[in-house]
């Protein structure tokens, strides 16, 4: 175990969340094409930071830093880490960040076609959630021998279903953001209610069955709180983009705040959901399997 590697992974993960916000600001302020060339910016490494260039070029700078840090992480893990899955996770992270950078460049050169922008937005959040798992894999908790026994639980199923719906919400949200197709708001709203129900189910389950296990209660409460906050930000975004749209002049501060906040909190929800899932699978790897051993799912023909 390497304490510096662990810290470094955490810092990289935190900075990546900052990059998600910075990328969101580019779209919210309508600055995605303020720098028409890529990979250089107006033929330079450092153009004047005025108007929309402030957002677009800051995003490029932070992204370069994250790309470089991910490269370093991959080398570091390749050098110090024995676990194969960790090595593959880091190579996966590097592949994602390189692809993401090229994708970002393509959105500029092809003038923001919606499918590319949606893909760029979704991959950003996927990369962030991926790093969260990577950082968790580096943690003391993961590398300890400790396990907890919770018995047969539905928690894993809840979490995996929640992950699926949160991810679908991310894709839908990105599609609404980049196509302005308001019809998509209907499935997005339905998805939001399903995610809310699942967050409540997860919270109730954890509080009822594992109330003494703060490693599960805290993330479950956190996830629930994020979902509530997300509903409020979603309503704000709806009000400022659909009810009172302001298309021509620079976007209002409230619009930028709600829309960027909604998108960034979405990334955090995805990460929180992935983290709690990883933790449950790590701490109680056998839950669920016991079902096969003890009960309903016994292979037919067995005594």
């Amino acid at each position: 175990m390497n304490i510096w590697l662990r810290r470094y992974t955490k810092i990289l993960t935190g900075l990546t969340f900052g990059l998600v916000i910075a990328g969101g600001l580019v779209t919210s302020t309508g600055s995605g094409l303020a720098v028409p060339d890529w990979p250089l910016s107006y033929g330079q490494l450092m153009p004047p930071m005025v108007g929309g260039i402030r957002f677009e070029h800051s995003h490029r700078l932070i992204a370069s830093l994250i790309g470089f840090m991910t490269l370093l992480l991959t080398f570091w893990i390749g050098w110090r880490e024995k676990r194969r899955w960790m090595r593959w996770m880091s190579i996966g992270a590097l592949g994602m960040v390189v692809f993401q950078g090229i994708l970002g460049g393509m959105t500029v050169l092809f003038l923001l076609p919606a499918p590319l922008s949606i893909f760029h937005g979704c991959l950003a959040q996927t990369f962030f959630a991926w790093l969260v798992v990577l950082a968790y894999g580096q943690s003391k908790e993961w590398q300890s021998k400790e396990m907890i026994r919770t018995g047969v639980t539905a928690l894993k199923q809840f979490l995996l279903i929640a992950f699926g719906f949160v991810y679908a919400q991310l894709v839908l949200g990105a599609a609404i953001r980049h196509t302005h197709n308001h019809l998509l708001l209907i499935p997005h709203l339905i998805g939001a209610l399903i995610v809310l129900v699942l967050a409540i189910a997860i919270l109730v389950h954890v509080l009822r069955h594992h109330s003494a296990e703060s490693r599960l209660t805290k993330p479950a409460i956190f996830l629930f709180a994020l979902v509530i906050a997300q509903l409020l930000l979603g309503m704000g975004s709806f009000v400022y983009t659909v009810v009172f749209p302001k298309s021509d002049l620079p976007a209002s501060l409230s619009q930028v705040f709600f829309v960027t906040g909604h998108q960034s909190l979405g990334a955090l929800i995805l990460a929180a959901c992935v983290f709690l899932t990883a933790r449950v699978f790590r701490l109680d790897p056998h839950a669920g399997h016991e079902k096969i051993a003890t009960g309903l799912l016994r292979p037919s023909g067995a005594p």
Binding site: S31, V50, I53
Partner: protein, 229 residues
């Protein structure tokens, strides 16, 4: 699209004019909306270019109660005819972090000379739907470049993503019969062949209106439109 109060109409005045033409004014009805001030603080060079407050150009009501920047053009009646592409280019300037002119017409294939008169950088971004879009960096003061549009389109929106308040509209037509209302609300379409036409008036905030007109040989027709709330 906003509901328009359609109004008419045409004073058909036969005059002893030299050639056939369609001209007139676009009136504004109702109270003019308060002009929206633009903040250029995002780029100090832009802010420094203006000593007076700057306002959005999305609605400009002239002092005489007419509407500026209405694009008036022949929509129907010229089908099957071909027209030469003018050799002279349209000037389209970026000055004080505003587009000059804000609304302009061009023929298909006609060169548009895009200039940057500002000591800051602009990206000039065409949102054309029928011609190929482009997004070009113009980082140097005095820089010029030429572009053209390959298909007719009402209207091609131009914008700058560095300065999100900057927008302009270019009407692209296969013929030369178009005009934009000036600071008196007047437009004038000259030397048009005699015939029956549908003319349309387009405004970025108030939408479009059409009228049918007949132009006889040697006739100058007066048409008026009225936009408003």
């Amino acid at each position: 699209m906003k509901k328009l109060i359609l109004s008419l109409i045409a004073l058909l005045v036969t005059s002893s004019a030299y050639a056939n033409g369609i001209s007139g004014t676009v009136q504004f009805k109702g109270t003019a909306p308060a002009p929206e001030p633009l903040s250029m603080s995002a780029d100090p060079t832009c802010a420094a270019a203006h000593s007076e407050p700057v306002y959005s150009q999305s609605v400009i009501v002239n002092d005489n109660g007419t509407l500026r920047n209405v694009f008036v053009y022949v929509k129907e009646g010229l089908e099957g005819k071909t027209f030469e592409t003018p050799k002279e280019s349209i000037e389209f300037d970026q000055k004080g972090c505003m587009y000059t002119p804000h609304v302009v017409g061009a023929q298909v294939g006609q060169k548009i000379q895009i200039m940057n008169s500002d000591n800051t950088l602009h990206n000039v971004h065409s949102l054309a739907e029928k011609s190929k879009q482009f997004n070009l960096g113009m980082p140097i003061q005095g820089m010029k470049l030429f572009k053209q549009f390959d298909s007719p389109e009402i209207m091609v929106k131009m914008k700058c993503d560095v300065h999100p308040w900057m927008s302009a509209y270019i009407g692209v037509l296969p013929h030369p019969y178009f005009s934009v209302t000036d600071n008196q609300g007047n437009f004038s379409i000259e030397s048009i062949p005699a015939g029956d036409y549908v003319i349309e008036a387009w405004h970025e905030t108030y939408g479009t209106q059409t009228q049918s007109v007949s132009v006889a040989e040697g006739e100058q027709i007066k048409v008026s439109f009225e936009f408003g709330v």
